[in-house]
Amino acid sequence: MTSSNWQFDTEKSLVESHGLKLDEFEKIVEGLGREPNLTELGIFSAMWNEHCSYKSSKYWLKKLPTSGERVIQGPGENAGVIDIDDGDVAVFKMESHNHPSFLEPYQGAATGVGGILRDVFTMGARPVANMNALRFGDPNHPKTKHLVSGVVGGIGGYGNCIGIPTVGGEVNFHPSYNGNILVNAMTVGIAKKDKIFYSAAAGIGNPVVYVGSKTGRDGIHGATMASAEFDDDSEEKKPTVQVGDPFTEKLLLEACLELMKEDAIIAIQDMGAAGLTSSSIEMASKGNVGIDINLSKVPMRAANMTAYELMLSESQERMLMVIQPKKEELARSIFKKWDLEFEIIGEVTNTKKLILHMDGEEQASIPINILVEDAPEYQRDYIVNDPSPLISFESKDFEDKDILSDLLKMISHPNLCSRKWIWEQYDHMVMADTVVRPGSDAAVVRVHGTNKGIAISTDCSPTYCRHDPYEGGKHAVVETWRNIVASGAEPIAITDCMNFGNPEKPEIMGQFVECIRGMGDACSKLNYPVISGNVSLYNETNGEGIYPTPAIGGVGLIRDLSNTMTIDLKNEGNVLCLIGESNNHLGNSHYLSIIQNKEDGGTPSVNLDDELKNGKFILDCVAKKLLKSVHDVGEGGVLVAIAEMCISGMQGIKIDITKDFLHGFFFGEDQARYLVEVSQNKLEQIEVDASKSAVKIERIGEIGGTSISINSIGEIELSSLIDHHTKWFNEF
């Protein structure tokens, strides 16, 4: 072997160990006009990995609708911003912490919450609600229990301590997540419209300030790890997971909000994935300026840290700011009050370069545009597979099946049973503004000091997406929309967390492309734009990818909290009605998967016209005070939804219907449907209104008693329903 070959091999493995391809390395050499040094290579690795650069997804994400009357800030900032009237705005985003949570569930999930909280308060908002969307493997997989306990503990541990309520979320189990769980965390904050903070650095010579915790060696290469698949040796990647300190985050939150009341901050960016590297480069890029940093000034937790380590550490609870030079002492005194680090580590320059010094020597000098504008962007090959074929089920296929015992099996299954065990570990009431607690369709929190509220829902049905990514993408969006409508709120906008497998595989890329197309169509039709989000690819282990999971977090506004709706049945004598068309769609339903252990039959199609029509009808009824309770008919179909309403309200119901295909009616997952509770004296009015709006309404039964009874079939006592509903997690 010649010496030059040896050099090439070392270089090649160095480049590959940084998650870069050789052609990407050549692009770096071309851009710089020389080879990068190790620190610079690390910086490129941190900026050009999938997690930070969106290189496989950017082209497609641009196709999503991102603007609307109420959108103040769409994707591209730390979080999106919507107008919620009276000079108030809601700031929100959802982000994935999948890879770290699989390696170290408690800290992975905790720092996921910490990261998304920072994204929101960086914008000047006080966080008011946390939500999440979680996916675990087969409930019987040996790792599942450990992962569930760790993730729930981590989410609670962080949110409870910092004092932001975790008001809801969703949890699913499926074997496709055996090797890659999904932990998607969402935060909603409230700010004043004229006090929103952005990340564009400005003002040549202005100080660049580091605040928060000290920098340690934790989380180095976290973002690069999150951009790769797992294999049998993934345990070795544990040191790339960061460690959270919610108490310090609480200090950082209060100190930042206190400083934001002063006219001191020009730009602010949280140090999240890729830490100091991505925060400084994003601020410089957005402001079209350069930044010089003296790394010797960075507060350090460990001795002898190198430039490379300082730039790539993902130590938590840190922020970078550009401040007004005149306000330096004021800013310093606020951070001192909160016992936090405050250090001027650099300045804004006109070089349009990131220049790093340490111990008097230059460590890196990279033009910002090479890192950002010239970052690789791929239009990867994709294949769109035909959706799984529809199967039309018939009544005779179910003659030997007992509806009530099937219902018990369904509501006791891990995917449909009560999640109380989880949300009782989250403080969901701190801040004393929680109006609708977890367990309803959407969580509702009051905007402090007002009589209006924000409704929030997270959702996705990966099975639908797996078998028909286009309809599945539509469904994920409309499911949150419907949940928000069912809480009495006007849906406004969404954030998304696009969790997929390896985009270099054309069929995975095809899932991504089709989910985006479905989401885009739904968002456009419903005037429900995407204002922020995140993409998590390479969710694969040993070549096996997860189901496509575009988790959606939707937000809506309730102008008058007296119009808030919940799912719990209220009064005996009221009538339960079903809104929307039922067509016995059992394909890919929970019924098939739980009772028959089958996953086929086609994804239900989402008719966006019907969604809009029926949703608008519900909101009109809410405004006219016609409804006592509302529940979206989602996973599990009508009978599962009825059971949830009964359990929640501790009320029974006498169901009186005539159908040819009862299984199809009770367990079918047709879309655009709601169950509503109406008092006897409003029944006629709602039926007339429905007919005028061409909305289908049918009476299901009368509320009362202590059981669900179905004419000609039999009954189940509420106490038995509750036992079955809570059993699985209680024995967890």
């Binding site: 004092g163 108490f247 200090l251 009431m429 004393a432």
Partner: protein, 223 residues
């Protein structure tokens, strides 16, 4: 009424209790920073819930040695009403103002849900309007413990403030959320001017909370 709410860096129920005081007692409390050292004149001092200094050590242990706690103790010894809620209760115990200990919940997990409590002694400034009440708990270390001598002492002195119970007021194992000895949810000091309780009355203080039973504690202070 002149009221004060202590603010530790990790307090997170300070605003909630201030809102409840404002709404029910009718005066806006002074928010006292933990690095301050004196509270001159007060009719009520509240030590709110939260995670005072992160509670990575024993809950409330660090807070009990903060500058402001000297003044809280002095005021308590002079007879000023002092109320600790949740983490505030933990801090008052660590400060020596209340007896016993708060250890980890018997379930070993954080619990956030509504519970029902019954006032055990209704002849105090905090409980003269109390009845069987529903309000939330939200804690990881709310399992009240005291040795048998201490329990006898606090029982003999009528120092038990609240006990967890069911809808009918029955005090039983089923209605005990966290393993507290004798279902104890709150205790007084000997002279009954210091109250510590795990449940959060400020989270059950207006109709939007779904229940406003927590008001009666603040209303008791007014009469």
């Amino acid at each position: 009424m002149k009221t004060h709410v202590i603010v530790f860096p990790g307090s997170n129920c300070d605003r909630d209790v201030a809102v409840a005081i404002q709404n029910i007692i009718g005066s806006s409390p002074d928010m006292v920073w933990h690095k301050d050292s004196t509270i001159k004149q007060s009719d009520l001092i509240v030590v709110p819930g939260g995670f005072s200094y992160g509670d990575y050590l024993r809950c409330g242990a660090m807070a009990s040695t903060s500058p402001i706690m000297k003044s809280v103790i002095e005021n308590a010894n002079k007879g000023v009403p002092v109320m600790g809620i949740c983490n505030g209760f933990q801090i008052l115990i660590e400060s020596g103002l209340l007896q016993g200990a708060l250890i980890r919940n018997s379930s070993l997990s954080f619990i956030c849900r509504d519970i029902i409590i019954k006032p055990t002694n209704t002849k105090t400034i905090f409980t003269n309007k109390s009845k069987i009440s529903k309000m939330p708990i939200a804690h990881n270390e709310g399992n009240y413990f005291a040795n048998s001598n201490q329990i006898k002492e606090i029982e003999d002195n009528d120092q038990i403030a609240f006990q967890y119970c069911d809808e009918n007021g029955d005090i039983n194992a089923h209605s005990n959320p966290n393993g507290s000895i004798n279902n104890i949810a709150g205790v007084f000091n000997k002279s009954k001017n210091v109250l510590g309780m795990m449940p959060h009355p400020e989270r059950a203080a207006e109709s939007i909370h779904g229940c406003d039973d927590g008001r009666n504690i603040f209303e008791s202070l007014l009469s």
